[in-house]
Symmetry: C2
Subunit: 207 residues, 2 copies
């Protein structure tokens, strides 16, 4: 398999070569491989190979693997914008910081595209990609920091995810009133202590 940069002058049958076609091909291959093998087990090299381009071109177009994933699943928000600040947040403030970062993004214009993608994703097979993102990226990234007692980190993060996904559903998909119109700070301050309890509070064990 030869990994080549696209050559716009040449147009072999059935293979897109123009820049936007190439980007689309990379995204399609990324979506396919992420869906089949998960986030961790999919390398940028494998995606580049499937798209028949150089890995450097993939990085050039899309940045990191996380950023490529976000583009592939139509998340119009750069995960680094959220995951970056979170890394610098003390864990006893994560419950407040998480919704403080996310709500304004979701409320913004950017969010509207995401919500449209979310609705169609929920109805179709792309729900698989959403699960992969939450399990492999978010759960792993944040879970390691709140893994106390050891083994609880993933569960803690997924309870947080459940509340945040519920906010998305209530505010943007179901558009419940008054929930839809509440100011961001009210939602942040209302759910913050509950998220914090999920992250660092004493929780019941599974047995």
């Amino acid at each position: 398999m030869t990994a080549t940069q696209p050559r716009p002058g040449r147009k072999p049958r059935g293979r897109p070569t123009g820049t936007s076609d190439t980007k689309e091909t990379i995204l399609t291959c990324a979506r396919d491989l992420f869906a089949r093998n998960g986030f961790t087990n999919t390398s940028v090299r494998a995606i580049a190979s499937a798209a028949n381009v150089d890995p450097a071109l993939v990085h050039h177009y899309f940045g990191t693997k996380q950023q490529l994933f976000a583009a592939a699943v139509h998340i119009p928000v750069d995960p680094a914008m959220v995951l970056g600040p979170l890394r610098d947040t003390p864990i006893d403030q994560l419950g407040h910081t998480l919704p403080s970062l996310l709500l304004p993004l979701w409320d913004s214009e950017l969010g509207a595209g995401f919500m449209a993608a979310l609705r169609s994703m929920l109805a179709g097979d792309e729900v698989n990609l959403m699960r992969i993102f939450l399990e492999d990226v978010i759960t792993t990234e944040v879970g390691a920091r709140v893994d106390n007692p050891p083994g609880t980190g993933r569960t803690r993060v997924q309870f947080v995810a459940s509340q945040l996904i519920g906010v998305v559903m209530a505010r943007y998909i179901l558009e419940l009133e008054p929930f839809k119109s509440l100011p961001v700070h009210q939602i942040v301050e209302t759910i913050g202590p509950n998220l914090q309890r999920y992250l660092t509070g004493e929780l019941p064990a599974s047995n």
Copy 2:
């Protein structure tokens, strides 16, 4: 407009008359009217009239208006099975009782049909019916009991709804692991205190 019981022996062109056709017609009319006018503003009489049947037949087939609504939006769980016990639960135990009632229902076979309906509902126009159910039935029914200080009841209930919807999403739609496999009692005991805080705790005001 004549409200008549269906006469199985007679089959005028274009109007269903058999029992299952009549039921379908009633459900279609119910869905249509609930979606256009909401739950509160739609009477069983109006639905019967639209379906060209006697209101008594609607009650005979579907029971109360709430039960008809549940059937119309493909909720395979009788709302009375949940709303009934809730009425007898002291409000300081609602946070625990709510998920204790709902999780087993969602986990059951019955739930599977609901989840399929939910997925297609989220993608289409029936999302409107889901909002109506949450706003008109749940928010009104439970909100009145936790309206302290006055004016906060609806918001309190919708924060509870956001967490519960998030559990549905994480467990049945996204199927996050380990969340999907957690025992019911662990989810109940983990979210219970948070739901209780939404219902009766001190929450930040909107200003």
